[in-house]
Amino acid sequence: MSEINRAAVAHLARLAHIEMTAEELDKMAGELDVIVDSIKSVQEVARPEVPATSHPIPLTNVFREDVVGETLSQELALANAPDAADGRFKVPAILDEE
């Protein structure tokens, strides 16, 4: 049973802003399907009472005190910007969305 079909991969690629060719979509659909199947077999073992693991290390409450630390200068902050103006990052006009 295929969970991940070509259309689903194309949808995800679009959401993730990844351009993919027709061959890549076919290939990825097959590969992702294998991965999903593998995870399925893990889920058979994990009973509903087992909470989902988001972190493998049993650490909690890693906090920082509210004290100001180092910042970048404006020049450094903008050093890798493709374009900048007035001390700010310059980006193409954004249409249809706000």
Binding site: L15, A52, T60, N61, D86, V91, A93
Partner: protein, 503 residues
């Protein structure tokens, strides 16, 4: 677009439909640093200077949670009568937009830190409406975009945009209500009162500067209509950018009228975001909900869970100040003001000033008289808040003391206040410098009375004949002669004494 939208009059809409409301209020916390980095959380600085590699989403960086931001979030939850999660984690909300340099916003998804709360909202006439809180979760703010090249500074027609990431990563708490049913025609009023109450609470807690004009408190308002008596909600619109209390009320009012017109003409309401425009007091279509809203949330792998203990929560609960609504109730009872008097005091924004003035030694009646009278009047003229006028509680206390001692009268007291506001010193000093004390020397008064009687012999004759009300003209003459610095009551007594009649 906005001008051509069909509307059904609000009252008419309310005869046929029940509105259902929902609010998402974003509160910017006033921690010293950001949610996940040690860069300063500050407004109005030089662009892109309050940024660290974490805020810019540079490769290889690791976020670390600001403990104060977590504590502030819990305090907000407690003030909203929420349950606090024993354990919760952060999640990534994935989307592409230039104000979000990481291409995801670090937020919370399945398990917010605060959930299942409520807030009792008192409307102006005293009716109390309970708003249920679904959740309050921690997240981070985005950078600030400025659209350039368009005629109006709006996104439409812009040639390019400039981004300042100083605000990126500023701690936010998003407070989400459950659907609010049953407000009826009071929906716009309730909307305003709810946002006002949240703003007041976070300000009172000291966890946010709560300045709406700076975007510290921002509201998205959801509105839908269903036929009267129905239980199935209609399709909702979500209006963004409603960032003043007045705008919240107006946006809900407008959307109810717009929805009603669509339903009446047999159209379907589209589930979409809408933009509020203060200039036209209307909304325009943003974008429809689409699969681009598939945010592919997943647990943030770079941050470990936040675990709360009972002891920690109780320690934070002990730090909560008296809730604003309870404080108002207590002060009203203490001061003995009537309902209408107290409401006027609250609406005029002078409750704190009155409290301080009473603490400084004035009676409740005197404090109210000054703050609601002379000080409010001057503030209105100067177009500032009464508390910003520069009148200290001590000034009011001293002015009243001078009046009580008979040193000045009410009229002179107003001149003394002028002097204080002009920086001439304390009330006592102003009385001294301007020579404003009441003339209390009887001989000086008698001299003026004799002059006035001589100037108006026919009036003097009338008074001798028993027409005591005619004395007003003589009193007026004396007040004029003393430039208002006489005690009118004493002048009156002396006139009768002089003429040998009973007053």
């Amino acid at each position: 677009m906005a001008a051509t939208q069909d509307l059904v009059a609000f009252d008419e809409a309310m005869e046929k439909y029940d509105p259902v409301l929902g609010f998402e209020v974003h509160v910017e916390l006033n921690t010293k640093t950001k949610m996940f980095s040690a860069a300063p959380n500050a407004f109005g600085d030089v662009p892109n200077t309050n940024v660290s590699p974490v805020d810019l989403g540079l490769p290889g960086v690791l976020p670390v949670v600001n403990k104060s931001a977590v504590e502030y979030s819990i305090m907000i939850g407690l003030a909203l009568n929420c349950k606090i999660a024993e354990s919760c984690f952060f999640a990534r909300k994935n989307y592409f937009y230039p104000d979000t340099p990481k291409n995801f916003q670090t937020s919370q998804y399945e398990d917010p830190i605060c959930y299942d709360g409520y807030l009792d909202i008192e409307l102006e006439d005293g009716e109390v409406f309970r708003v249920e809180i679904e959740r309050a979760h921690m997240e981070e703010d985005a950078g600030k975009l400025t659209h350039m090249g368009g005629a109006t500074g709006r996104i439409q027609g812009a040639e390019y945009s400039l981004v300042d990431y100083n605000r990126a990563g500023v701690p936010l708490v998003e407070i989400v209500t459950k659907p609010i049913v049953g407000a009826g025609s009071r929906a716009p009023e309730l909307a305003r009162a709810y946002v006002a109450a949240v703003r007041e609470i976070v300000k009172n807690l000291g966890v946010s500067d709560a300045r709406m004009e700076r975007g510290n408190v921002r509201c998205d308002a959801n509105v839908s209509l269903m036929p009267k008596g129905a239980t199935q909600f209609g399709t909702r619109s979500e209006t963004k950018n409603v960032n003043s209390l007045r705008a919240v009320e107006r946006a809900v009012y407008f959307e109810i009228q717009r929805h009603a017109a669509m339903l009446e003409s047999g159209q379907k309401v589209v589930q979409e975001t809408r933009h509020w425009h203060e200039d036209t007091r209307s909304t325009t279509s943003g974008r429809p909900k689409s699969d681009a809203d598939d945010y592919r949330y997943f647990p943030e792998p770079d941050l470990v869970p936040v675990v709360t203990t009972k002891a920690w929560i109780e320690e934070l609960r002990a730090r909560l100040p008296e809730p604003p609504a309870e404080r108002r109730k207590r002060l009203k009872a203490d001061w003995g003001y009537a309902d209408a008097e107290f409401r006027d005091v609250v609406n005029a924004g002078v409750m704190d000033s009155i409290e301080e003035t009473i603490a400084a030694g004035a009676s409740a009646a005197v404090a109210r008289k000054w703050w609601m009278g002379e000080i409010s009047r001057r503030a209105k003229e100067a177009e500032v808040e009464p508390s910003e006028l520069g009148v200290s509680p001590q000034t009011v206390v001293e002015l009243d003391r001078l009046v009580q001692a008979g040193k000045i009268n009410d009229k002179l007291a107003r001149q003394v206040l002028d002097g204080v506001l002009a920086g001439e010193g304390s009330p006592e000093e102003v009385v001294e410098k301007r020579g404003l004390a009441v003339v209390s020397d009887d001989s000086a008064l008698l001299e003026a009375i004799d002059a006035a009687l001589a100037a108006q012999p026919e009036v003097a004759e009338k008074i001798r004949g028993g027409k005591v009300q005619a004395a007003g003209a003589i009193v007026g003459g004396v007040m004029k002669a003393t430039r208002g610095q006489a005690d009118a009551g004493r002048v009156r007594e002396l006139i009768f004494e002089r003429l040998g009649v009973q007053g």
